[in-house]
């Protein structure tokens, strides 16, 4: 019964990724034979493997610019999403006013909106004639920068899209902390920041790591947000790999970029698995 979905994952993820690894190392036979027929500028290994495609892609200064942009946008988005999710989650956990409920309702709005539309609306909002520029103009700040078509708009878009997941994750983690524990800390004289540091934070390391990991993987794998809101170059790897695949007809180079992004994601995934294992170990030690 469990075989069908596992088979789908094996056939449509395991197999293509394996074939892509072979193709990037210069193996143009088997499942790669058709794509190899139409591709340009291929690095083919007659015997063994060749790292030619990796050398070419990493030697390309434009790609290195994209890689650098991808790394800092990913890290900045992770930082902002984690901070915002914690702030909103804490506010909703510790305060029971209509404002807190409004904040939690606001923060999940992106779930209801397709990413394409979100990106487009963010582009127009921060564009040269957008709301932010209009607001700045009326407050007398005429030289306010245009954020549309810059990497800042990409960061804003990625944050906007990822906030609901972060907030849901952190709220569910913070709600799991019993009231009694928080009250006990407060009664013994701990200030609010101390309570957060000594009680709420240690009990929510795993949700925080989950938010950070999956936000990072989302940004690394995103195309729509950077394609619609970002500059033409340098942009995130997702945009440039699509261009190499479709526009430049260089699928081997595109797949090399995919591998680079996979390696970055694997780094994030390792932290996630490590945190889960550490938590499991702790749990088995205490019980």
């Amino acid at each position: 019964m469990v075989l069908p979905p596992v088979a789908v994952v094996a056939v449509f993820i395991g197999f293509p990724v394996g074939a892509a690894i072979a193709y990037t190392l210069g193996k143009t036979g088997g499942p790669n034979s058709t794509v190899a027929l139409i591709a340009q500028r291929q690095h083919v290994a007659k015997h063994g493997v060749t790292l030619g495609a990796y050398r070419e892609v990493l030697g390309n200064s434009h790609v290195r610019g994209d890689l650098w942009a991808t790394v800092w946008v990913t890290l900045l988005t992770i930082g902002v999403v984690v901070a915002l999710s914690w702030a909103i989650g804490l506010y909703v956990r510790l305060s029971d006013t209509w404002i807190a409920r409004a904040v939690s309702a606001l923060s999940v709005i992106p779930l209801f909106i397709p990413v394409v539309i979100a990106s487009y609306s963010i582009l127009t909002f921060y564009a040269a004639q957008g709301f932010l520029k209009t607001l700045a103009y009326h407050t007398g700040w005429h030289s306010f920068p245009t954020l549309g078509y810059t990497m800042w708009a990409v960061v804003i878009g990625e944050v906007w899209v990822n906030v609901p997941f972060g907030v849901l994750m952190m709220s569910s983690g913070l709600n799991a902390v019993p009231n009694a524990l928080i009250e006990a800390a407060r009664d013994s004289g701990a200030s609010l920041p101390q309570t957060i540091r000594a009680v709420l934070f240690p009990m929510n390391v795993i949700p925080t790591v989950i938010v950070a990991t999956f936000t990072g993987i989302y940004v690394l794998g995103s195309f729509t947000v950077p394609y619609l809101t970002g500059p033409s170059a340098p942009n995130l790897m997702g945009v440039s790999m699509s261009q190499f695949f479709q526009s430049f007809n260089q699928p081997q180079q595109a797949e090399v970029m995919a591998m680079i992004v996979f390696v970055l994601a694997a780094g994030l995934g390792t932290i996630y698995v490590w945190a889960n294992m550490r938590a499991a170990k702790r749990a088995s030690q205490t019980t």
Binding site: V2, V8, A19, L106, V116, K133, T224, G238, M257
Partner: protein, 289 residues
């Protein structure tokens, strides 16, 4: 200090602390942050929605100076746009039904049966979440050429299917697990066969969770743009992929109209399952246990 206060009873009138500079600043900062969040989350959507009804919107005005409905007429008159709307409503049900057929038996097995390798299979399904999507689509597209799936209906279905596997397995599995075994056993004792127990007891009780998974799957397919764009063009251009070209080639107002049309199914369907998502079920699915 009065006797009353020493006894630990604070007079009601003193309960509310007098506003200090600090409490006023805290409150002011709080209000500013809430307003900023409101502008950040909702502002772009309102700004775009207004554009769908605007004729002339000179900078720097907060509202259009002339209003019109002509963009709605032009979008509805455009053949290729109408076609993409039709396509989106074809893909989404196909992907949802396919995903349900593939994943629901597995969901039942994960929930009710204990078999060797259960954990391994469960984690392997989560691999779909561990890969950055666009890199995965590029890898898939590479071998899709060999299997003649590029630019085909089936190819697009497969690309969209991948993203639905995790929640189509996870949410129904949780739903099956929440059906009390004692109910099933009681039906068995009353003489019902295993199939009858499943269709009369287990399935109806798990149906709401399955419904949520199907709605999410439908929406995923309906909103998926990047994989469909890579594999489907030039033959299959759904609504969200149409947006890519629309943004570049049409006036902004037409893009705004199309955005509203595309957002409507999302908003309606998401509102149906809102409670379930907010309840933390989505969050649970990401904990490796």
């Amino acid at each position: 200090m009065s006797v009353v206060e020493q006894a630990g009873i604070v007079p009601i009138a003193r309960r509310r602390p007098r506003p200090t500079v600090r409490s006023v600043t805290v409150r002011a900062v709080g209000t500013v942050l809430v307003v900023a969040l409101l502008v950040f989350m909702v502002g772009p959507l309102i700004w775009l929605a207004l554009r769908a009804f605007s004729d002339i919107w000179p900078y720097p005005r907060f509202l259009p100076s002339d209003w019109t409905l002509k963009w709605w007429h032009s979008v509805f008159a455009d053949k290729s746009l109408g076609n993409s709307i039709k396509l989106s409503f074809e893909f989404a049900p196909v992907v949802t039904v396919a995903s349900a057929a593939i994943c629901l038996p597995a969901a039942y097995a994960f929930s009710r049966l204990n078999f060797p390798g259960r954990r391994f299979f469960l984690v392997s399904l989560f691999a779909t979440n561990a890969f950055p999507k666009i890199g995965l689509y590029i890898s898939m597209a590479g071998v899709f050429y060999t299997f003649n799936l590029m630019g085909t209906f089936l190819g697009v279905v497969f690309v969209q299917l991948i993203g639905t596997i995790v929640f189509m397995t996870w949410i129904p599995a949780a739903a099956f697990s929440s059906v009390p075994r004692s109910l099933e056993e009681a039906a068995r004792d009353a003489g019902a066969g295993p199939l009858r127990v499943f269709f009369r007891i287990t399935f109806p009780l798990a149906a709401p969770g399955i419904f949520v998974a199907m709605v999410l799957s439908f929406l995923y397919s309906f909103d998926e743009a990047q994989g469909t764009f890579l594999v489907g063009i030039p033959n299959y251009i759904t609504m969200p992929t149409e947006m890519y070209t629309l943004v570049l080639n049409y006036p902004e107002q037409a893009g705004a109209v199309f955005s509203i049309l595309l957002a409507v199914p999302s908003i309606i369907l998401m509102s149906l399952v809102r409670k379930h998502i907010m309840g933390g079920r989505l969050a649970e699915g990401f904990q490796l246990r």
